[in-house]
Amino acid sequence: MQNQLEVRDVSVKYGRQTVVDRVSFELESAVIGCLLGPSGCGKTSLLRAIAGFEPLALGEILLHGENVSRPGQTLAPEKRRVGMVFQDFALYPHLSVGANVAFGLRGMSGRQQRQRVAELLGLVGLSGLEEKYPHQLSGGQQQRIALIRAMAPRPEILLLDEPFSGLDVELREQLAGEVRTILKREGVTAILVTHDQLEAFALADQIGVLGSGRLRQWDSGFNIYHEPADRFVADFIGQGTMIPGRVLADGRIESSLGILSADFNQQHQAGDSVELLLRPDDLVHDDESDFKLEITDKVFQGAEYLYTLSLDDGTELLCLVQSHHDHGIGERIGIRLAVDHVVAFPS
């Protein structure tokens, strides 16, 4: 299948500062990608480079096989058939909802335009709102209008810049799911930029984690969580603790929690000192277990308790336990390891 988007070795610079550093990835048609990272990691600059708002210092960008950006040559945004949804939605206050959605439709008769607008409004469950004005809509409705306005001209690719950050937390999760359904139904190729990993997991097929301008990992959400490529990704995604360990001659790892054997995501030599990543779901509470740890803190999360457990050497571990196991702080509880993916980094 032909790649809808190819980003090859792309760098973006502001003056002498490199904000995007030789990033490469590809996106197939009808796939939803996500650029995930903390603020200032360069994800928005990369998105704006794909849209054509930022020139490239290095590399090239291909849209549907056509070279649209290379150093010294940037095809103007209005010529590259992208759709963009901004954080502030940027709806035009002087235009009705219908006129907003129809803004990018050209070469169509008035009747065709109305038809397309009605079809899109129906898609997001807002039929009949054509005559309303943006300020009469709720935040979630405005967001959907901004989305279908960008989708209306059937762009090659849809770019979403933190599209949910202006909304309430509850609404965010609900909308992320809805937006995925809509994009999938329409077969839209899209890239989402966000700092919220749950949003990325809920929406994207492929996630790229960016740190300090570099692409650390380009993978599925599952792999990014369970097999992070480096410490940055491991720290940024999910919760967890690093504990020290040592690689034995047979390839297993010895740590203060005992000897662990599993597949490694990285090659280590016998005798190497490593650090092991332990997620809260890698530790399972088991009253039968002889291995007991002291509870130093606990947070009620509804279905589960998140316990902080302390090893004798003071290292703290996190453990998720179903909330009917209610133990007090200071109590020692039995723990069993359930590590499917041992993630170890050289220390």
């Binding site: 708002f53 209005e78 502030d88 940027a90 235009l95 762009p155």
Partner: protein, 533 residues
């Protein structure tokens, strides 16, 4: 570049601070300068007390207390802004001087004659301060009202739950919190006080502005007039700084982002009556009485006044105000697009500089415009005479060009602020979203910018138009010989004690002046609806 050109008059006047003092200057210092300084300071003090009392009390009552008529006062209290100080001054003179209806009435009732009784002299420094305070208090009213409303929910309710009544809440919480806003309003009122020429001249109070006039015309000494102007400018700058600092503090004083419809103090019958008296007093003396008097005069002199000369006045005024407001709008558009597109600090600085003129007295700007224009004319004239043997005469000075240029220097800030505010509402993402949908720059301007800016552009036009119409001292100095406008004619007739004859011109100015007040009160009502929604 354009912005810099507009800053020339101000910079030029300031440069006279460093000029060696001439003979006339030392003469001024020996004789009248002390009077100018003392009178200006006294006047400022009087106006300050007046606007604080009127402005803060009415703002508190209309924003925090509930009494009959409150919602009408809310906007009506702005009406005095429509009356230029020189016009209220001569209306009050007409009402209250010896031959006026009030004193005549007293004499009829009591049978007293001249000298039998004491009556406050309206044409005095106290009178001038009162006149200025009556029309300038809306500045303080507006800004402190906004401050009171802004602080509403968070701190005032806390104070009330802690058991403080309206008075304690006012003095211990609301007033200290609103102080920066009040000071900002006060500085604006004081700037206007310093800029006033018509009132003090009419009341025979010697201040800086009248001094500059006298030095310019009477002593014919441009340098000394410029030096006086420079001195005045220093005081103005002090006020500008005071205003800027207060505004910055006012921003930090918003302790909460949440605004909720506030519950107003319910006043009892006696309190309501007092509140009503205070608000209606300010409104009556600041607007209804002078406007009513003008209307009465206008009606009684309709036949003589409404002649072709009056039509001429209107044409002149409309032409000047129209030309100045359109030019100011074009310049403002040019500058604010430059700022938006380039955003570099020289552009920002230039825009700032160009926006400063509003605080500067018209008299000072007139001097600052006159000197370079005259120098240019003389230089051109002598060069032409030397080269070609003919004289160009005065090409720029004493023409409408000079006058309109002065208007631009003074009022560009008004249209600049309005246009910038309008342009600020078009967020950069709105341009970008249009481009991502395949829209070119020209189309963006046509389909997004023009429709979104339309309101701001109309407002900018209107505000400058009205300001130019009201402007007196700069017009007086720079107008071409015998070229009369409404403001100039009203002032001249009043100076000749033909108060009733001046009423038509004055009334026209007041009526036009109400337009921006309506705009202002509409924005206030709208923001209130937005808050309660």
């Amino acid at each position: 570049m354009t912005a810099l050109l507009l800053a020339v008059p101000v910079v030029l006047v300031l440069s006279y601070l460093f000029e060696p003092a001439g003979e006339v200057w030392s003469h001024l210092v020996d004789t009248v300068l002390k009077d100018y300084v003392i009178n200006s300071l006294l006047l400022m003090l009087g106006v300050a007390i007046g606007v604080l009392l009127l402005g803060v009390s009415t703002a508190w009552l209309t924003s925090m207390c509930q009494f009959p008529g409150r919602s009408v006062f809310e906007w009506a209290l702005l009406l005095p802004m429509a009356i230029p100080a020189y016009i209220i001054a001569y209306t009050y003179t007409g009402l209250f001087d010896f031959a006026g209806p009030v004193q005549t009435l007293i004499r009829q009732w009591t049978g007293w004659g001249y000298g039998d009784y004491w009556f406050p002299e309206i044409r005095s420094i106290e009178g001038a301060a009162l006149m200025l305070a009556l029309v300038l208090y809306p500045y303080v009213y507006l800004l402190s009202r906004a401050a009171f409303l802004g602080q509403s929910i968070c701190v005032l309710d806390v104070s009330r739950t802690l058991g403080n009544g309206p008075w304690r809440t006012f003095f211990h919480v609301a007033l200290p919190l609103a102080r920066p806003a009040i000071v900002a309003g006060l500085s604006l009122a004081l700037m206007e006080t310093l800029a006033d020429y018509g009132t003090v001249q009419y009341f025979g109070v010697s201040t800086f502005t009248t001094g500059i006039f006298r030095t310019w015309y009477g002593l014919n000494n441009a340098a000394a007039a410029a030096q006086l102007s420079a001195l005045l400018l220093l005081v103005v700058f002090a006020l500008i700084i005071m205003e800027k600092i207060s505004r910055r503090q006012a921003r930090y004083h918003h302790t909460s982002q949440r605004h909720q419809a506030l519950t107003r103090f319910q006043l009892n019958a006696r309190q309501s009556f007092m509140a009503f008296i205070i608000c209606s007093g300010a409104l009556f003396f600041g607007f209804i009485l002078p406007a009513g008097q003008l209307l009465w005069w206008a009606l009684t002199t309709a036949e003589e006044s409404l002649d072709s000369r009056f039509v001429g006045l209107i044409t002149h005024s409309l032409m000047l105000a129209g030309a100045a407001s359109v030019l100011a709008l074009l310049l403002a558009l040019f500058l604010s697009y430059g700022k938006r597109q380039l955003g570099s600090w020289p552009t920002l600085f230039a825009v700032r500089l160009a926006g400063m003129g509003y605080a500067i007295p018209g008299t000072v700007i007139a001097i600052g415009v006159m000197i370079p224009f005259a120098a240019f004319d003389n230089a051109l004239d002598s060069w032409l005479r030397a080269q070609f043997g003919w004289s160009s005469g005065l090409l720029l000075s004493g023409t409408l060009v000079a006058l309109i240029f002065a208007y631009l220097v003074r009022f560009l800030a008004v249209s600049l602020q309005t246009v910038e505010a309008g342009l600020g509402k078009i967020r950069p993402t709105m341009d970008e979203v249009a481009r991502s949908m395949g829209t070119g720059s020209g189309e963006i301007v046509r389909r997004v910018h023009v429709p979104m800016l339309k309101g701001s552009l109309m407002t900018a036009l209107l505000l400058v138009f009205v300001d130019v119409l009201k402007e007196l001292p700069a017009t007086l100095i720079l107008r071409p010989f015998n070229y009369n406008t409404l403001a100039v004619r009203a002032y001249e007739l009043a100076s000749d004690e033909r108060l009733a004859d001046a009423s038509y011109a004055a009334l026209t100015i007041v009526v036009v002046g109400i337009l921006p007040v309506i705009l202002l009160s509409r924005t206030i009502t709208r923001s209130r609806h937005a808050k309660s929604a």
